[in-house]
């Protein structure tokens, strides 16, 4: 269905090629996952398959890309659309019409189809994506998962023979991601759709994948079946990618089984119980008292009488679905929003707390990384000499010293995030709040960032969808649902309660589900490895 042979791509003005000597094929009905470290050329490869680079870019392309036996150069844009539907990362930027129905119709209108045909296909596409009830709903009122399913409906209405998806679940909460993956599985198993998926959340996508293509620095370094990859996870380890938890555990234990789900995993014997880590709780640093706040005073309040305290030594993971109020709580804690009622008491004197926003790009407005990091000390009136030392120390701590003279917007996503964090940290706040710091990051990058921050701050609070990161880096979990704190406690108390997590649309990882089956309170591969017998 797809054949790529000796593909080589270099952008105009670039020093090195983005893609070098890429060759692979994808058979009809196969689901192939492309993964690799950030910036390795995955998205560029996908854009070669959906024709946008061949038709609209001045990049120098050599080699062959064939869809259904036809060379890309011989296909017009509408012909490519009929063969391959493309879905991208951010659903909000892919929707252009006001209602779901008009959005689905857009592609068919471009193909000049009859009105009756369009209506028929809209019915089918919305039904296939479970959005029939949202037909006349405004697109901006749909949840993230629904918006991404709508994008899929738009593509399916064009009746393509293959789907090309670029990190379609990276911005979705676990529930939204689950909806998309179930849909892909159905399309593959029932409709025989050929699917190519760029994704680094291998834990989520491997259960439905047939093959995996591993990329590194623009090259295809391995093409293997799912089973072959699971048999030897060393290529994933070497590239610092997110490992599927249960296969990782079983490989560490020297076992041959590579289960992807808790149900498929053989029961291991538990040697001892995981000791519950109950650290001494430090003094209260931030006190939230009876806070009431909402998006609009005309509507219902999101938080009503919310009270909680953050203590010295707290490493808090704020879990909850999209719209649970995680970002709003962070803004209230940072003093960026003022409660309608109640109070948030923070330590004196200023600067108090640092907040890293969900979109770090909106925090970068200077011409160089060094200027960005120097912005806060400069505006705090720190003398030039001391500010210079502070800036260099912060750059080194965040591992971006060599990027000091680069323009922030020209960096990779991970580097931009670290620059945004550095620009906040250089103000020397007493505690740090991070809004979704793990989005689009590899495991290695996440661990390096979080470990550095945990060591430096009295309180670190981070909002995330990633239960694994919460388990690895938090000593306290706050579970938020529709503005209410459903649970507040140590990870072993909160993450073990699957029913409570489900109420907040948070899903346990396969490892946590397996640990529960074994009757052990272990939430990371390392913790479970220590207590089970191989």
């Amino acid at each position: 269905m797809i054949r790529v042979d000796k593909l080589h791509l270099q952008y105009v003005g670039a020093e090195a090629p983005t893609l070098t000597d890429i060759s692979f094929t994808v058979a009809r009905g196969e689901l192939v996952v492309i993964c690799g470290p950030t910036g390795c050329g995955k998205s560029t490869l996908l854009n070669c398959l959906n024709g946008t680079l061949h038709h609209e870019s001045s990049a120098r392309i050599q080699g062959t890309v064939e869809l259904a036996g036809r060379a890309m150069e011989s296909l017009s844009v509408p012909e490519v659309c009929r063969l391959a539907g493309a879905v991208f990362q951010n659903p909000g930027s892919q929707l252009t019409a006001s209602t779901a129905e008009l959005e689905v119709a857009f592609g068919m209108e471009n193909q000049n189809l009859e009105r009756a045909t369009m209506r028929e296909r809209i019915d089918t596409a919305l039904a296939a994506t479970g959005l029939s009830d949202c037909r006349h709903q405004r697109t901006e009122t749909l949840s993230g998962g629904q918006q991404q399913r709508l994008v899929m409906a738009c593509v399916l209405a064009l009746q393509p023979r293959m789907l090309l998806l670029d990190e379609p679940i990276s911005q979705l909460d676990p529930q939204g991601a689950g909806e998309i993956l179930r849909l892909l599985d159905e399309l593959k198993s029932q409709g025989g759709m050929t699917i190519v998926l760029v994704e680094h959340r291998l834990e989520d996508v491997l259960p439905i994948a047939d093959r995996v293509l591993l990329m590194e620095e623009g090259r295809l370094v391995a093409t293997m079946t799912r089973e072959a990859l699971l048999a030897d996870l060393s290529p994933l380890r070497r590239l610092g990618l997110n490992l599927p938890h249960l296969p990782d555990l079983f490989e560490r234990l020297g076992r041959v089984e590579r289960p992807l789900t808790a149900e498929a995993a053989p029961m291991l014997r538990v040697q001892r119980e995981v000791p519950a880590v109950v650290g001494e709780r430090g003094a209260v640093l931030i006190e939230v008292r009876e806070v009431t706040y909402g998006y609009s005073r005309r509507g219902a309040a999101l938080f009503e009488g919310l009270s909680l305290s953050l203590r010295r030594g707290d490493r808090v993971a704020l879990l909850g679905s999209n719209g649970a109020g995680k970002s709003t709580l962070l803004h209230l804690l940072a003093g960026a929003l003022r409660p309608w009622k109640g109070s948030v008491e923070r330590p004196d004197p200023a600067p108090g707390c640092g907040l890293v926003l969900q979109n770090p790009d909106l925090m970068l407005f200077c011409e160089s990384v060094r200027e960005e990091v120097a912005f806060a000390p400069h505006h705090a009136g720190v003398p030039a000499g001391k500010a210079g030392e502070l800036v260099e120390r912060t750059l080194a701590r965040l591992g971006i010293a060599e990027l000091g003279d680069r323009a922030p917007f020209a960096l990779s996503r991970g580097q931009r995030l670290r620059t945004a964090v550095a620009s906040v940290v250089s103000r020397e706040p007493a505690f740090l709040l991070l809004d979704e710091p793990t989005t689009g990051q590899d495991r290695e990058q996440i661990d390096r960032l979080m470990e550095g921050l945990e060591a430096a701050y009295d309180v670190v609070l981070f909002a995330t969808h990633d239960v694994d990161t919460a388990a690895r880096h938090a000593n306290r979990i706050l579970l938020l649902h529709q503005g209410r704190v459903l649970a507040d406690g140590a990870p072993h108390e909160v993450l073990d309660n699957a029913e409570l997590l489900a109420r907040a649309a948070v899903r346990q990882t396969s490892l946590q589900q397996y640990a529960r089956r074994l009757g052990v309170r272990a939430f990371t591969v390392e913790a479970l490895q220590e207590v089970v017998r191989p």
């Binding site: 609209e56 659309c81 009929r82 592609g107 994008v151 926003l357 979109n359 407005f365």
Partner: protein
């Protein structure tokens, strides 16, 4: 929301908007412009604005009217003019002193009423029309799809840009930035740089939209069908025709009057019309 303005066909709204702008250009009479402003206010009320929207409109127009009348009253340069109040006598600070002129107040009021009628009508149309309906309306009046799509997409993403700019301001505030604290030059530099992330975000988003519509087969200028049937009822046609007739008549009357005023064309039989235009328009 369902209000009379929300239910109105977007083409009819565009016609009303066009008619109001023609009236604002053609009419100089204080009374008629006042009537136009009242119609604008009625249209605005008919879209059932929220309290916040009403507050925004009242605040902005109060500032506008005050600024316009005050500046015209003080700096009116045409003759004849009659001072009704002396703020500064001649040769104190300025050779002519500072006077409030009656004609200036009238002129300021005329300009304000023009802006109010146009502004209120514009607000009413914007608050009551979804971007998708705008697109359908523009397509129905034969605006090329590429142009209409670009215009509507730009409008649709304006609130997102506003939200992003607020986030940038918040980030700057949280990093300790306060305007003017570090001097005017520093402030100007920082304020200009605050636009950078929003502009870069806009470019990134534009690229994503372009990629999205291209991969759904959009080719500029290629023939395309439409899911929405653009029906325009007899009542709506009648209204458009009446509005067009009225604007046409207004235009002809005003043109004949101007020809007469500049002594280029005079017909004695049209004297009642000249008198009507002088008195009412």
């Amino acid at each position: 929301m369902s209000s009379p303005m929300h239910r109105m066909d977007v083409r009819l709204k565009m016609t009303i908007g066009f008619a109001m702008s023609m009236v604002a250009i053609l009419v100089d009479s204080l009374l008629m412009l006042g009537a136009g402003a009242v119609i604008g206010a009625l249209l605005f009320a008919a879209c059932r604005p929220t309290r916040g929207q009403s507050r925004l409109v009242i605040f902005s127009f109060t500032l506008l009217v005050w600024g316009m009348i005050f500046s015209q009253a003080l700096f009116y340069q045409n003759f004849p003019r009659h001072a009704i109040l002396s703020l500064l006598p001649p040769n104190v600070l300025m050779p002519e002193g500072l006077q409030v002129y009656a004609e200036g107040i009238r002129h300021g009021l005329v300009q304000s009423l023009r802006l109010i009628m146009l502004g209120l009508t514009g607000y009413a149309i914007c608050f009551s029309t979804e971007p998708g309906h705008f697109l359908q309306g523009l397509l129905a009046i034969r605006v090329p799809f590429g142009l209409a799509f670009m215009a509507v997409t730009a409008i649709r993403f304006l609130p997102i840009f506003a939200t992003e700019y607020q986030a940038v301001r918040l980030a700057m505030r949280l990093k300790g930035y306060r305007p003017l604290r570090r001097g005017v030059r520093d402030t100007i530099r920082t304020e200009i740089s605050s636009l950078r992330p929003v502009l870069l975000g806009a470019i990134r988003r534009a690229q994503e939209i372009a990629l999205s519509i291209q991969t759904r087969g959009f080719v500029l200028g290629a023939p395309r069908s439409s899911l929405v049937e653009r029906r325009f009822g007899a009542g709506q046609w009648l209204t458009v025709m009446m509005v067009a007739l009225l604007i046409g008549a207004l235009l002809v009357c005003k043109l004949l009057f101007l020809l007469y005023q500049y002594q280029l064309f005079y017909v004695p039989a049209l004297r009642p019309l000249y008198a009507f235009v002088r008195a009412w328009l």
